[in-house]
Structure formats: C-alpha cells, structure tokens
Symmetry: C2
C-alpha cells in the first residue's frame, strides 16, 4: 500500500514536469505539437496498462464463475448441491450430517445420487468433475 502511494506520487510529479516542459517547448517552438501529444499519449497509455495490471494483482481474480445452468441441467437438487460443496471441503458424511442437522444415512443417499448425476465412482472424482464443469 505504501508502495502504491509512492508510485502514484512519482507519477504525478513526472506528469507536472511533462506539462511544463510541453508548454515551454511549444512556446519556444523547439518541438511540434504532434510530438508532444504523441509522447503524452504513449506515457499515459503505459500508465493505464501498468495501473490495470496492479489492480488485477491485488484482486483474487474471480474467474471462478459457477455455472448454475449446468447444475440445473444435471438435475442436481439444492440439498445435493449443499452436500457436494461440503464434500469438496473435505468433510466426512458424518460431519456433513451434523452440519446440516440430518442423519448420516441421508447424506449417503444424497452422495449416491450425486455420484450418479455427476457420473463419478467416488466422492473425490465427483469433486474433480464438478470443478471441471465449474459448478463449484
């Protein structure tokens, strides 16, 4: 954060200098107006790129968009989806049951249905497939 402030400060100073320089140059006729504008344009273009790059790096970048349409397509119910998410968190059937206040039997039923709908043999495979389908 300190770094960002520093960078911005330096940029502003540099720009002020550029402004003054350009003004002076035009008045004295040393440089054409096109040249000045080209330089300014280039500098700000790269500043734009730089700033955006920084802002990207600070964000976690959620390219992780869940495909709700796919969930419906697979006919995964609300409850099953909840179970699926808890499986991906590494919980056991018993633990999931406790979290959702239902018996382990119920979770087993949900898991079995999930495996069929996701065409998986195991819960680990189900998680893998679900991630590839971008539904979790």
């Amino acid at each position: 954060m300190k770094k960002t402030v520093l960078v911005f400060g330096l940029l502003i100073i540099a720009l002020l200098i550029l402004f003054q320089l350009s003004k002076f140059s035009v008045l004295s006729g040393d440089l054409k107006i096109e040249t000045i504008i080209a330089i300014i344009a280039l500098v700000f273009f790269f500043i734009g790129v730089f700033i955006h790059k920084k802002s990207i790096l600070n964000k976690p970048v959620a390219i992780h968009t869940i495909d709700k349409h796919k969930i419906e397509e697979l006919e995964i119910t609300t409850r099953e989806y909840e179970v699926l998410k808890h499986i991906s968190e590494g919980l056991s059937n018993k633990e999931i049951g406790e979290k959702l206040f239902v018996s382990e039997s119920t979770i087993k039923t949900h898991v079995s249905n999930l495996l069929i709908k996701l065409n998986a043999k195991r819960r680990t495979e189900a998680v893998n497939i679900a991630k590839q389908l971008q539904i979790i």
Copy 2:
C-alpha cells in the same frame, strides 16, 4: 479477433481526429494546451487500461503457482506428491497403484503418510488443504 481489429481501427481514426482538432484549437486559441494534453492523457490512460484488460482475458491467467518451497517444508517426498496429485484427480488407491506400477498397499502407505504430513483426516480433506497451501 475481427472485433479487436475493428476496435483498433476506430481508435486510430478517433486519435487522428483528436490530433487535427488539437492542432487547430491551439492555433485558433480556442483551447489551452494544458486542456488538450489532459484530454489526450485521459483518453490514452483508459485505452491502456482497456487494452490490458483485453490481453488478460485472452490468456488462461495462470495465477496457479505451486509453492515448491512449501512441499519441502512439509517433508512431502516425490512419490508422495505424485500420489497426492492422483488423489486430487479422483483416483482410487487401486487405480493409482496401477498408474505408478506399484501395489495398492504401497499407495495406502503413501496416503497415510500424506494425511499425517498435511494434518488431514481424509483424502478429500488432504486435497482441500493442499489446494489452500497452493502445493497442487
């Protein structure tokens, strides 16, 4: 791709117009040179941001850097790491054994060691922890 070319073309045309306008304005004294420069700067700043955004979207964006240092820190061996990756792919112990040409017993040993080193109770939890630690 066609879209990109179109956008670029329009941008170049817009800039040429800006150039001519600025030249004329300065000569006719309608606008101050600072104003022109400010406008140019702003426009190119956003162009920079826009272009960078586009270039990011086209890339797969591999923010997925595996922390090799962490793997060593946890004292996870080469073989154990191979097993870990296969677990995350959703394979069973038997299947992993077949892939690595060793017995299921061996895989079980590796898995048990992995669970201890990753402080996990189950393979699903191990995968989850490994992903959080960015080692897979």
